[in-house]
């Protein structure tokens, strides 16, 4: 059974249908790419999955349950974590505390336990710190734990967002343009991190305009344009798909190096 299934998903903004009956399935363990021109509705699809928007029609089935309409935090605790297209870190908090926010949903002790400092609360706090450090190490920011998030370089901020998402112990990780603003070398490092995430058994769904990343990292792609799915398949198939070339990749010429 697939881990995530979108079934005729619809989202309207006023008169604009940003997502129009989009249907696809993501198999557990895959790295799955969602691509398409600017404004095609990719981010909107993500927001529908993560509960930031409520669909006007259709369903999102995650791990066998229908999750549309649930609050974002509920969906996170079910095992869907995300990063944002424009970085949304907690700027004035340390990298460590940013990652701890991810660990939050796996903890239970509340305000009264905190005031009393119960043994359970202390143990839980310690476990959370261990988890956070592990994830920071995983993305290579272990030595920056105490740096304020806005003091990190742009690329590292992107990685920190990934670490924060990983700390929620997700089954599905959703990345919105993780390589945006990265140069090629940084992108290569990111590809490697995505591979290691996959190796941990986490399914990845990503949006990206950087074709070198998409082609290297993804096992399967879906392409949307004007809110509709126009193609689906293996990267090699997509690359030569006429519709995709016309709408998204552009005609191949000697300059194709600029984007591939």
């Amino acid at each position: 059974m697939s881990l995530l299934k979108l079934d005729k998903l619809i989202k309207d903004f006023g008169g604009l249908r940003a997502v129009d009956e989009v249907t696809f399935e993501v198999e557990a363990g895959d790295v799955f790419g969602l691509i398409g021109p600017n404004g095609a509705g990719k981010t909107t699809v993500f927001n529908l999955i993560t509960g930031n928007y409520e669909p006007n029609g259709g369903d999102v089935i995650f791990d066998g349950t229908r999750i549309n309409g649930l609050a974002p935090n509920k969906i996170v605790s079910l095992g869907v974590a995300r990063t944002f297209q424009t970085i949304r870190l907690f700027k004035s908090l340390s990298a460590l505390e940013n990652v701890l926010s991810g660990a939050h949903c796996r903890m239970t002790s509340g305000s009264i336990a905190a005031m009393l400092k119960t043994p359970f609360q202390r143990r839980e706090e310690k476990e959370a710190l261990k988890l956070a450090l592990t994830e920071l190490d995983f993305v290579g920011l272990g030595d920056q734990a105490e740096t304020r998030a806005d003091g990190l370089s742009y690329g590292n901020q992107r990685l920190l967002e990934i670490a924060r998402a990983l700390a929620t112990k997700p089954k599905l990780l959703i990345l919105d343009e993780p390589a945006g603003g990265m140069n090629e070398q940084e992108t290569d490092a990111l590809i490697e991190i995505i591979a290691r995430i996959k190796a941990r058994g986490i399914t990845v769904l990503l949006i990206e305009h950087d074709m070198s990343l998409v082609m290297q990292a993804c096992e399967k792609l879906v392409v949307i344009e004007y809110g509709r799915k126009i193609a689906e398949g293996l990267p090699e198939e997509i690359k030569v798909n006429k519709k995709v070339i016309e709408a998204y990749l552009g005609t191949e010429d000697e300059e194709d190096e600029t984007c591939f």
């Binding site: 935090n73 949304r88 907690f90 701890l100 926010s101 509340g110 905190a114 706090e125 310690k126 710190l129």
Partner: protein, 340 residues
């Protein structure tokens, strides 16, 4: 280490200060203490959760009136009523905050201002016939502690500042917990907080509730200290004062908020004392046969003006507040060792 030493020194100084001060100055310290407690409770909502809340006096009022009504009609000792007052204020907060918790920034601000005004007007109009209207309620008992009746400023000093010690201790723990962090997350970016699995609505409400519970308990102290309460003591301006203390002191910082209370409440009193200062100088000089006619007492009419200017200046020079919060400390070394 040195910071701890400084705090300890300051605390000791404060603790022994009533021995050297007259009732008036002790009462000023009591006022500072009460406002500091109120501001600390507001700080959870405004400073930590970043919710623009300018209606804290409403919760304070609910606590004070709960105490006053239950004490004067059933004769329940006031200190027993402290948790009841807290509870009532908390419940009230839960009730009123629920429908408006999703409002943003300035819209929330005006709604919370609306709360204080509605509460005050309701009190003035004697809702349910139990609030005594604009007269308020009088004849509230003094607190008894271990059979000892607390009456004088010096005695209230230890009650108020004792409660402060407890509050600081608990709030410090609260701040440095999962709960405190959650509030900060939603202050920084509530979409990202939701996206990290934090139920922001829940935490906003809890922040309101805990803040209200504390304000309600301070309400108990206030009611028993004044023995008479009236709606005017809980007007919008009171909320503004608490708000200023938090921002001026440093939102999210316990030590900042306490310092803020000293300045916002203490400064105007200090300026008022200027008349006495000139009298003192005059009398010293007349002791030497020199007649001086200094009169700083006009200064006391200008004291609020100077205070206003001082606030602007302090904000300009310390725009993050006087003592902004320090980053939380985590025992990373220890954890690392355990990990490896």
């Amino acid at each position: 280490m040195t910071r701890k030493a400084i705090y300890l020194l300051l605390a000791t100084l404060l603790a022994v200060s009533p021995a050297f001060l007259n009732a008036y100055w002790v009462d000023v310290l009591n006022n500072v203490g009460m406002y500091a407690l109120l501001a600390l409770s507001l700080n959870l909502i405004l400073g930590h959760a970043g919710l623009f809340h300018m209606g804290h006096a409403a919760f304070y009022a609910v606590g004070a009136y709960t105490t006053a009504i239950l004490n004067t009609t059933y004769g329940i000792p006031v200190l027993w009523l402290m948790p009841v007052a807290g509870l009532m204020a908390g419940l009230f907060a839960l009730m009123v905050a629920r429908p408006i918790i999703h409002l943003r920034g300035d819209y929330l601000l005006i709604v919370t201002i609306g709360f204080v005004e509605i509460v005050r007007i309701a009190l003035v109009n004697n809702v349910f016939g139990i609030t005594g209207g604009s007269n308020g309620i009088f004849g509230i008992d003094r607190p008894f502690l271990f059979g000892y009746k607390i009456r004088k400023p010096h005695e209230f000093f230890y009650l108020i500042w004792g409660f402060m010690v407890v509050t600081v201790f608990l709030f410090h723990r609260l701040e440095n917990s999962r709960f405190g962090r959650a509030l900060n997350y939603l202050r920084e970016d509530d979409v990202a907080a939701e996206g990290s699995g934090i139920n922001t609505t829940h935490y906003k409400l809890i922040a309101f509730v805990i803040g209200a519970v504390w304000a309600g308990m301070v309400g108990t102290i206030y009611a028993s200290k004044m023995t008479i309460i009236a709606p005017e003591s809980f007007n919008f301006w009171e909320s503004v004062v608490m708000f200023m203390i938090v921002i001026l002191g440093g939102s999210g910082s316990i030590r900042g908020v306490i310092l803020g209370a000293f300045l916002v409440i203490g400064l105007p009193e200090l300026f008022r004392g200027m008349g006495a200062v000139s009298d003192l100088i005059n009398s010293v000089f007349s002791g030497f046969g020199v007649t001086l006619n200094l009169d700083f007492s006009n200064f006391s009419q200008a004291r609020m003006m100077i205070f206003g200017a001082a606030m602007v200046i302090m904000m300009i020079f310390r725009n993050e507040g006087l003592l902004p919060p320090l980053p939380r400390k985590y025992p990373l070394k220890k954890i690392r060792e355990e990990m490896s």
